[in-house]
Symmetry: C2
Subunit: 298 residues, 2 copies
């Protein structure tokens, strides 16, 4: 990673976190119960890397959209991601106590509050996307709401989580692992890239290129995650590791081995980078994101 | 209630249920896991009275909107209502085993599936609202998404549920009960009426009248519910009754007595009906809804 890229990553993460902080502060004024807002803040303002917002912002930037003009959509996307983490961590789901080195929301508050904080973040995501501050054209906003709902709903992220939980109690093959991962993690990353295209008024070719880039980057993200689950330790990850194996969850590493997954990951990153060819040098930051996703250590 | 009204109530409920059935069948084709769709269907297609969709459809009808053209927005609203029931029934919230005479979703399936079925219904609600099938004008669709998100989010329904749970462990006064009820139940009923105005292209006066009607009808709904909790039995309600009292939940009945609540209810229904004056005879069905909400026995 170049220093320039790492600086871009950090400054975008800071801008996203600052805006999310702002948005939640504004909402705290509307008689929303303080405890709910505190739980939402705990789930959102926890030092995340903001990879999905970065993908959205950089995809939109390919069409000349200023970072500030993509920030609202990026924050909405991050709200969906954070809600999904809060709900996935619940005792009846993955039952995790730690997330990014801090107690998960249901440990810091309680289970009911965690469920509702997640619900409220999901709801807020759609409010932010449909609001004028997201884009001046309501047709763009409506399209983004539909895309975000599809990416995060039953045919996307939620569906993938259901398949993931079901996979704990049975053996699944490579095709099934790929399907569940493409839904659980891939759909929202693909959305990040497509949303950038929609915000930027991309033509069909450009949009297809970004969708392909998003799909490959999503797959690379998941492959890297699978590798980290077996090679990293809890101190670095800020959450429990080795849990997938422990639970007998079907992962590609378990099925085809570490070396084969490393090869696949390298090949997938090349494909993600290749998908950006039509954008020329302008897309160098997006190329670095694909590499970063594959090489990250936590 | 006139026979005409009861027939209208029934035929609208049937149309809403049939469309929800359709929409969930369509989604079952998109590789969504069958178990998730089954849990969503269990939570949605359970013989509900569809009062909120009726309010929306009849409010829109005041402006000449055909019932079929308000059906998508009405179904979206019912998805939000049903998701809220699924989550409220969870063990960490109200811990209810029965809903409309059937096992609640977490009893019929499991807790994780119930949480995700609720999440998926909330997500679907926004997809339906932002979709072209809701209204041809994307500005209307975006406005409805924002209104629905605000009504169901932290300053509305979810906020009310947090206050409600907090109220179990302390004494709250009449003003606090009214605030929590206006958020928990009132916000979505108010949305139903305002959404009809938005779909119908109402002017400001008409919209304010429908908002006022919605607020009063929401209050009447809650007062009637409080009365039913102490006067009805589980067989008629299809769910556990007397639970509010048992949990020491602050209700107006507990605070001011049954007779005073009956008076308040009657007065609130008059106010709801009065708010419709500018619509003349056209609004007679809406007037009957306010009466029905107050007089229902379950």
């Amino acid at each position: 990673m170049s220093d320039d890229f790492l600086q871009c990553l950090q400054s975008t993460a800071e801008r996203v976190s600052a805006r999310l902080d702002d948005l939640l502060r504004q909402r705290a004024k509307d008689a929303r119960p303080p405890r709910l807002i505190e739980a939402m803040r705990h789930g959102v303002l926890n030092g995340g890397k903001r990879i999905r917002p970065l993908l959205l912002i950089e995809s939109a930037a390919l069409f000349g959209v200023a970072k500030k003009d993509a920030l609202q959509a990026a924050c909405a996307l991050e709200c969906v991601h954070c809600y999904s983490l809060i709900h996935d961590d619940l005792p009846s789901m993955d039952d995790d106590d730690l997330r990014r080195g801090l107690p998960t929301v249901h440990r810091a508050f309680d289970e009911a509050t965690a469920i509702m904080a997640g619900d409220a973040l999901l709801t807020l995501a759609f409010e932010l996307t449909a609001d004028e501050a997201c884009h001046y054209d309501p047709a763009i906003r409506s399209e983004l709401v539909v895309l975000l709902a599809k990416a995060s709903g039953g045919a996307g992220m939620i569906g993938g989580q259901i398949l993931d939980i079901a996979a704990e109690s049975k053996t699944i093959d490579e095709a099934q692992i790929r399907l569940l991962q493409s839904m659980k993690t891939g759909a929202l990353i693909r959305f990040a890239c497509e949303a950038g295209a929609v915000l930027g008024g991309a033509n069909d070719t450009q949009r297809r290129a970004l969708i392909s880039y998003g799909e490959k980057t999503g797959l690379a993200f998941q492959l890297a995650d699978d590798l980290l689950d077996v090679t990293s330790d809890a101190g670095v990850m800020g959450k429990a590791t080795g849990k997938d194996q422990e639970r007998g969850k079907g992962t590609l590493v378990g099925l085809v081995g570490i070396e084969r997954v490393r090869e696949l990951l390298s090949q997938t990153v090349d494909e993600a980078i290749g998908a950006l060819e039509i954008f020329g040098l302008e897309a160098d930051v997006s190329r670095e994101i694909a590499r970063f996703v594959a090489e990250r250590t936590h």
